[in-house]
Symmetry: C2
Subunit: 147 residues, 2 copies
């Protein structure tokens, strides 16, 4: 889809989707959060065609979600690490995981824990100010005034 | 991408992405949450090609995120309404909107309010049990044991 059009629109949701609006991109970020940085690691983990992976890594780098770093000069090799924007996307993936568990969750599935304690984490979306779960709130999306 | 493969894997995040893993699908759900139900409403709002829209509506219906309802027999006309799974996805879109505002947020943008009060809502992802923001927690994704 036309990400330039998404990125110039006035909907905040579209602005997010313009940066990481497909499953491959989101899964690359998941793998980056697991510590993967190298092309071959992503390729093996995802079973993704090399040309598609190249394109997605380039797009995520241009979107400022991954940063490309040269880690070897001979042979020339780059790695990809999460930026602040990329790290800030991970909670959204976690919420996506809870939703996936609820509505597409047959069999044993992965889950999130706090690194040091191993304590189980269940991601849910709340209003930052009132702390109320968004699913309990009747919401309305307000588009900005023209001009 | 191969959504069957995503759907049979053991990662809860993939399970979510298998149901709505692209920008068009997410934007259709956004529009459905704004009250749109008809093919032409989605088409006009999104500027999406009719064949792509048909395919996405079919996939979202098969995934159980939208429900297709016949609302006119002559001429035959269907509408698409959010299921419980679809409504439960909206908080994730809201979190995506806050992230889009933060990292791709030039100009005036849409925002969420509580329907009756008009009170501003800022979506953020927390751990349901401890209430702690996920961005402050060092997390680890645990894959299930084989077998």
């Amino acid at each position: 889809m036309d990400t330039d059009k998404l990125s110039s629109g006035t909907c905040a949701i579209s602005r997010g989707l313009a940066l990481v609006g497909d499953a491959w991109s989101a899964l690359i970020l998941r793998d980056a959060s697991l510590g993967m940085t190298q092309f071959d690691q992503f390729r093996t983990s995802l079973g993704i065609a090399p040309n598609i992976l190249s394109r997605r890594l380039k797009a995520l780098t241009e979107a400022g979600v991954l940063e490309k770093r040269r880690y070897s000069e001979r042979p020339p090799r780059d790695e990809y690490v999460l930026t602040q924007a990329g790290r800030d996307f991970l909670p959204i993936l976690a919420a996506m995981g809870e939703w996936g568990r609820r509505y597409n969750g047959t069999g044993k599935l992965s889950h999130l824990v706090v690194s040091e304690t191993g304590e189980r984490v269940r991601a849910t979306v709340v209003d930052e100010i009132s702390g109320r779960p968004l699913r309990d709130l009747p919401l309305r999306l307000v588009m900005p005034e023209a001009g």
